[in-house]
């Protein structure tokens, strides 16, 4: 993921606050985190083009607010938070455009997967994505972070601002709902 760059977070954070080196340092941040951030967004919004746009917005927002980043939290935590906020804002806008109540689940996002040229999953993979899309937003985030990214609960706790216990419960509920989805749609 680091590509041609060497990545030392402490050094990068220092460089980000030096006007002479900030732009180059942020380039390294993009190189280092773009894939992680892209996949997090893609699993939330499903569509490749949407995920690509949201990722660009995420990095631009992070860059324009770089002065507010003090280094108290990890850069990855900060970027994940921005990406989640951008994704949720995008989904809510899409719901409004499609006259879908804001408190309903995000199943509508997975409806176009079948015809999506950037989805090559089989029937079971499609069904799993539909099951994930039917989860409440927070459970969906927790499930994706834990199941696909194998993120530690402690790191998730920092990003989502929820206790480890609540996250474990959330993940457990998500699994139960996915199992029910498969049983009901057999």
């Amino acid at each position: 993921m680091a590509g041609k760059y060497t990545y030392d977070e402490e050094q990068i954070v220092e460089q980000l606050h030096n006007p002479a080196t900030a732009r180059e340092a942020f380039g390294k941040v993009i190189e280092h985190y773009s894939q992680t951030i892209y996949w997090q967004i893609r699993r939330m919004v499903f569509d490749h083009d949407d995920a690509s746009d949201i990722m660009q917005n995420t990095f631009i927002k992070a860059w324009t607010n770089i002065d507010n980043f003090r280094g108290d939290a990890k850069l990855s935590t900060w970027l994940h938070k921005i990406a989640i906020n951008e994704s949720i804002t995008f989904i809510n806008k899409k719901k409004a455009l499609n006259n879908i109540p804001i408190d309903s689940d995000d199943s509508f996002l997975a409806k176009t997967l079948e015809s999506d040229p950037w989805f090559d999953g089989d029937e079971t993979q499609l069904k799993l994505q539909q099951a994930i899309a039917s989860l409440p937003e927070k459970q969906r985030l927790v499930f994706n972070m834990r199941y696909y990214d194998e993120m530690k609960y402690e790191d998730m706790s920092e990003i989502l601002g929820t206790s480890v216990g609540a996250l474990k419960a959330s993940y457990h509920h998500a699994i139960k709902k996915i199992e029910s989805f498969f049983t009901d749609n057999d």
Partner: protein, 139 residues
């Protein structure tokens, strides 16, 4: 696969079925870098706040303090339980009648012990009387 994952998920695997165009990440990274606007960077104090810097040491100190307190409490309990008394202290204690009565009341001395000690005292009394009689006879 973690044990917390269900059987269904174990069968499904972790490949979501999404793909991206070729060289997508290399291209998008360059595109984002080029589109970054000019920003004014004024904050140069990149050092984390004092609390963030000292937090690990505070946590460690609290942990050691906790262990020390636990050891103190534990030692205090064992010392109270030990109640080791020297022979002199026992003897002094036994001289006080109320202590002896309390000792008997607490069932620390059985009835048999009392009978035996009474018989012993009778035996020693007889010995004393005998020795006094012998002394008188000698005189």
């Amino acid at each position: 696969m973690k044990p917390e994952d269900s059987k269904i998920l174990q069968q499904l695997g972790k490949e979501p079925g999404f793909k991206v165009p070729e060289n997508f990440f290399a291209d998008i990274n360059e595109k984002i870098k080029e589109s970054l606007p000019e920003v004014e960077i004024t904050r140069t104090d990149v050092r984390p706040s004092l609390w963030v810097r000292i937090r690990p040491y505070v946590y460690m100190a609290a942990m050691f303090a906790g262990v020390w307190c636990m050891m103190k409490v534990f030692n205090g309990l064992t010392e109270t339980n030990k109640q080791t008394l020297t022979a002199k202290e026992i003897a002094a204690g036994m001289n006080v009648e109320s202590n002896v009565e309390e000792f008997i009341l607490n069932n620390s001395v059985s009835d048999m012990d009392i009978i035996m000690s009474y018989e012993d005292s009778l035996y020693y009394d007889n010995l004393i009387i005998d020795s006094e009689n012998n002394n008188e006879e000698l005189l």
